[in-house]
Subunit: 338 residues, 2 copies
């Protein structure tokens, strides 16, 4: 049994853009397991944009990440030792293990630890397309946008995992799907590898007028649904190109995560076009998880839902990988492999 | 029978704020009635913020008002002459008579002309609390905000007719009701005469920080529903004070009517607070009119729905009265009496 655990703590809060010095790698002794606890060797840590929000003190839907403690995060791994009757050594599990190599988890906490079927799906999929990001994509698309065949659905951060899943779910429903992503490589991948109908490279269109013209060209019949992962100017461009009665699912608005406001100037179009916008937090929509995971798992198992994984090796590199993700330097699902 | 009709035409489009020189008073001969037409002497013309939108060329939910033609507008009046079997001289009617003393209306056009029961309600009510503005208030409050007893509902332009009705409908449903209005006189009237629980004078709070603090003080348990008639900074202040799962009905966003953008900077709160916003055009929601008019008419007839009317005498004064309304110089329902 291991005796030392390597962990990443949050040691300071960012002012403006976060940096590696907001984090610290420490070694902590691994104690003995308490009754009802399970010791898990974490294999993959999920890096997600919501973590940026928790680094700040600002009130949000979740408590801020406490300073001096292990960064929170979703993990998949393998049970090494168990003092809980439901889990046995060798079981593959997912849970909120945090940014650390080992986690001792009280398995009686509701939802703290769940078994993963690693024979049907790759273990990492449970952190992505068949996990929280996949269900977020499913909920925003199916329950808020509720697209009909023939409608046009646009998704920002199209090369990110959520955008990837949104687009393929919308294609499966007979929609025209247009992504928005940064850089020609991501745009090419979204169209050629994932089957989007088009992808607009927002880096080529730095102002609202040119961005909305590009979007209009990619959406000849207008926009009926928008899955928002970014906010700010992209939202304005979509509002300009939207059809009457368009629906917007607000899943992420990273343009404002670093504290600087991301103003939206075209909001009056929501009125004149009778649009609807709704924010959601997927962990609250527990009622849809079974239905969503069933569709997502079946699609992944059948090879009908493709996604890209950006995997960083070693816990020491987790902060840098996280910052790269926020900068949009990689695409697909961001994972750290311990 | 009259032979001369005085009319107000739109003769130019505003650049920035509209002025009286965008309009022209003309005298036109009254021709003879065609078959199926009804000649109406208009008694009251309704002045409404949506007319500002139609003065511009910009694409909106309605066609722009054509230049050189009589300004569109809702009217109530009395039938003078009829070549339609359903209408007789002396009938009180409402319709889209426009900014003119007499209208010859083809009564076969669907919804062009309707009889009004002037024995039960004052004729002018059909342009206000028991007309389009009343139904707009009802739809946004009852169908979009859908407040529960004990929740807090905020409405901007609270002293305007729509705001007036929103607040009283919400009070009748057991809500705490807080208005936003400009100036101490309007705020006093809203609380003392209409029974709102509080009213915030936005003119005292020129910046977002002070406005949101004032709103927070008036809404000690937060905001659950917001009926938006203004947009811009007021919306930001509401977003800051909103509770999780708050609902916003977008009915008017006059902050942007004059072409200058009214940026909104706090939109990411719609995501973190899982809020919903929806724009609507009341004339499209035909299915709710009977239910809404029944409640509104019964409340007015019983003296349980109060409203203020600002009545300007004479068609020549209509443009100035319209501009005054846009400036927020008067409150309640704005009417021109011919």
């Amino acid at each position: 049994m291991p005796t030392v655990n390597r962990q990443i703590l949050l040691v300071s809060r960012p002012t403006g853009e976060p940096g590696v010095d907001n984090f610290r790698l420490v070694e902590a002794p691994l104690g003995t397991l308490k009754d009802r606890e399970v010791l898990v060797r974490n294999h993959f840590l999920s890096l997600d944009p919501y973590m940026r929000g928790r680094m700040s003190e600002a009130r949000s839907y979740a408590e801020p990440q406490p300073l001096g403690q292990v960064m929170l995060g979703a993990t998949v791994g393998e049970v090494l030792e168990s003092r809980h009757p439901f889990f046995r050594p060798g079981d593959k599990v997912m849970g909120m293990g945090g940014w650390q190599e080992y986690s001792a988890i009280n398995a009686d906490q509701r939802g703290a630890l769940q078994k993963a079927d690693a024979t049907r799906l790759p273990l990492s999929a449970y952190l992505g397309a068949v996990g929280m990001p996949g269900v977020a994509a499913w909920y925003g698309l199916v329950r808020i946008i509720a697209p009909k065949a023939g409608e046009t659905v646009v998704v920002s951060s199209a090369a990110g995992l959520v955008g990837t899943v949104v687009g393929q779910l919308a294609k499966a429903r007979g929609c025209r799907v247009v992504g928005i992503a940064g850089g020609p490589e991501k745009c090419r991948a979204v169209v050629e590898e994932l089957g989007f109908d088009a992808c607009v490279d927002y880096r080529r269109y730095p102002d609202l007028a040119s961005m909305s013209r590009a979007l209009e060209a990619a959406c000849p019949t207008g926009i009926d649904g928008y899955f928002e992962n970014v906010g700010g100017m992209l939202l304005d461009a979509v509002l300009l190109c939207a059809n009457n009665f368009a629906r917007i699912a607000l899943c992420g608005m990273i343009a404002g995560y670093n504290g600087e406001p991301a103003p939206v100037t075209q909001l009056q179009l929501m009125l004149t076009k009778r649009m609807k916008a709704e924010g959601f937090i997927v962990i609250e929509q527990v009622q849809v998880w079974p239905e969503a995971l069933q569709e997502l798992g079946a699609m992944v198992a059948a090879g009908k839902l493709k996604y890209h994984e950006t995997i960083t090796q070693g816990i020491a590199n987790a902060p840098r990988a996280f910052l790269d993700m926020l900068q949009g330097r990689r695409h697909g699902k961001h994972l750290v492999k311990f």
